[in-house]
Symmetry: C2
Subunit: 439 residues, 2 copies
């Protein structure tokens, strides 16, 4: 179980403290439902106004600069010349860049950027939290001229400084951050301040390191990783996909990722199965590309957290993912039925000797082609560069959070003091009965 | 605390039972996100397709007929001649009637009725559950000719029969009822089968009798009661509102409603305060109308459950509600900021001698006029008969549930067996820190 309980009794309300809640008529920030300015239907269809904070430079371009400097990069004269380094958590760069485009180029987006925060319904905080985490290379670079390490960057301090700055902002205080959107795609991004941002909409890869009172499917949005290998440009087909199953990645991982070693044991001597231990490198990416483009199925075991970029590499390779990660959350699951594009196997079944390959060999060619056909249909959702792709869908997902944000913000402000024995939460629970009947 | 805990460990998953989840590619019921049929933006703005079950007659017109028969009414030749009896839980009639109107007359609605269930995204079950509860009068009518009681109607049996019928329907089974919409506005409506309908979207008055695993703000919709006294047609103003505070209703209630007797004690001898014990009757409604139309504030204490129709009577009377009901949930709170139209007082403050009237006397005339002005703006949300009113807003609220319904339905079906130590729930929690700072 990767998630921590959220029912720690965090409420210590002083029993009958009486609070008189005659709320101010003025200073009410939420939009006024005015019946004279059009129908509800028109209101519903309008785009959501989003304000992007003009953060101090250290939280955006400054992070890129520090990253470059720690690797011996030269200073550049303009921020526009700084190049965000490509990696699997690049969504923070794509979203920032997207909102920096003129609104005229963003007509299809579910959100409109507004320059006056008074006009906004949501507030985007474009801190590069995932890049910040890896600014310091594992082995610090040394400055050639002085021999002193140049990496004085501190991710922890940057996170704290961001929150110190944000918590002073009037729009942050207004709804305690509920209408603020943060991106923290790396499972460790923002970890130091996660309890200060948890009211907001978090854009994450999964909930592996987040407790239930910090993140949820109701409040947050699951993002795809940026795929790291090239999209397969060919058509559907199995003739050029000689191997049955492909996996390349780290054999040894922590927590849920311990399954990997067990999978290696049952798979490594199977015919038509390519399973290789390998770390991230340009060469391993080249090999992975070749493997994924020439295999019918691609294994996606849990890593340190339930999700990994490999899944999205497989999807854009038209290599049907075989997901062995019991607690995985998947992006955009309201519009994507992942049963049509992937195979799910629970961990205890997958590690039974011979079981997994036997199952995969039993899948007919027609069936594989059907999977590939569906993969082609939804591939755009995993392409950050596609104008009709990931970025657009992320904003649509974010915009759909607005009604519950408004409801909860209004409700919080009029709620009187109560004797609560447990947190006041509204939940949507998984339907357990469905699990046993599927084969 | 009116709500029961939802964390009873309902999961008894047999530890390592291995389930092999190779899901069928075929028989996948959820809509296919087809990238070739338009942009995401267009998809987002389209109306939600809703199918209304053509239920066996006993669950709709049959309930009205039984109600009339139990009161000595004569049989009628056509269902259209049956008159649904007016009462505070009439929403079930308004929604049924609305969906029976031609779609051409419903252009502004967020939902389009479809006649083929295959085309639907949501399924409405138009059982008159609140009327069913009161079919039998407290003292049964006797049939004049036979002297035998005619009331053989059983609400319990009708509820069970409904579910026996529904659970056989293919569209019910498809998503375990998640995409089904039920109306159960009376706190006791559907109580016998509530655990069989709890996956669906419930249209309710509050959560007073519902456990946290049965209903929530995330999954369900809070409806206003139909107001029982006439709308105040005049303009804003306080000249004709001589009394400070008005209340008429049952002094003695159960549970949270015990506060009523305490409020009577501190209020009944106050100058300018009209507080009267009275049961529902035509005469008392006349007196309540007069009282609410000529008072500046109208008291809304909790009853057996946190909400009551009196609140909506006050709202349409332009009489500023004084809400003393700590666990109340309010309709359409994403678009209505109730702090602009009402005053909230926590129970322990309200019952302190002299406190409540002192507070209300301190509210300036300008402030009362502001409240009234805002009341006028949002009044339409509480008018079931207004074409731009309650019914339209209920459908909008229902339509906004669809993305999470689709997400959870897709997710349920691909979820493999896991070792869960607690229910798999996604929650949105109230921001407790806000409560202490408001005065």
């Amino acid at each position: 179980m990767p998630r921590k309980s959220f029912l720690k009794p965090t409420l210590t309300l002083a029993g009958l403290l009486s609070l008189f809640a005659l709320y101010s008529l003025f200073h009410t920030p939420t939009p006024n439902p005015n019946p004279n300015t059009g129908t509800i239907h028109l209101e519903e269809n309008k785009k959501v106004n989003i304000y992007m904070y003009d953060l101090p430079r250290r939280f955006t371009y400054g992070v890129i600069e520090s990253y470059a400097a720690a690797r011996g990069g030269q200073a550049v004269s303009k921020d526009e010349l700084l190049k965000y380094p490509g990696h699997q958590h690049s969504a923070e760069w794509y979203l920032f860049s997207d909102l920096n485009r003129p609104n005229e180029e963003r007509v299809d987006s579910a959100v409109t950027r507004v320059m006056d925060p008074e006009d906004a319904e949501l507030y985007y905080v474009p801190f590069f939290s995932s890049l910040s985490l890896v600014v310091n290379p594992i082995r610090p670079a040394v400055n050639a001229s002085s021999d002193k390490p140049t990496s004085v960057y501190s991710d922890d301090q940057t996170q704290e400084a961001l929150m110190d700055w944000l918590e002073e902002q009037v729009f942050w205080k207004r709804n305690n951050g509920r209408d603020h959107v943060f991106i923290c795609q790396d499972p460790n991004a923002l970890y130091k301040v996660i309890d200060r941002v948890k009211n907001g909409v978090l854009l994450v890869s999964d909930f592996g390191r987040l407790a239930r009172n910090q993140a949820s499917l109701v409040k947050d949005v699951i993002l795809p990783y940026s795929h790291r290998i090239n999209t397969y440009k060919g058509d559907i087909g199995i003739v050029n996909r000689k191997s049955l199953l492909f996996f390349m990645g780290n054999r040894y991982r922590k927590e849920g990722g311990k399954i990997r070693d067990l999978l290696f044991q049952v798979l490594e001597n199977e015919r038509d199965v390519i399973i290789k231990h390998g770390a991230q490198s340009r060469e391993s990416r080249r090999m992975a590309t070749q493997g994924m483009h020439s295999s019918r199925f691609c294994l996606h075991p849990a890593g340190d957290t339930p999700s990994a970029c490999r899944l999205f590499d497989a999807l854009v390779s038209l290599c049907v993912p075989v997901i062995v990660s019991d607690s995985i959350e998947l992006p955009f699951e309201d519009v994507i039925d992942y049963r049509k594009i992937s195979i799910f196997v629970d961990s205890s079944t997958a590690i039974k000797p011979g079981k997994l390959v036997k199952l995969l060999r039993g899948v007919s060619s027609e069936r594989i082609l059907e999977f590939q056909k569906e993969l082609k249909k939804v591939k755009r959702y995993f392409e950050y560069e596609d104008p009709n792709g990931t970025v657009k869908e992320i904003w649509r997902q974010v915009s759909m959070k607005l009604p519950l944000i408004k409801l909860m913000s209004n409700r919080d402000k009029r709620m009187v003091l109560r004797d609560l024995t447990e947190p006041d939460c509204s939940c949507l629970c998984s339907n357990q009965t469905g699990v046993h009947t599927i084969l």
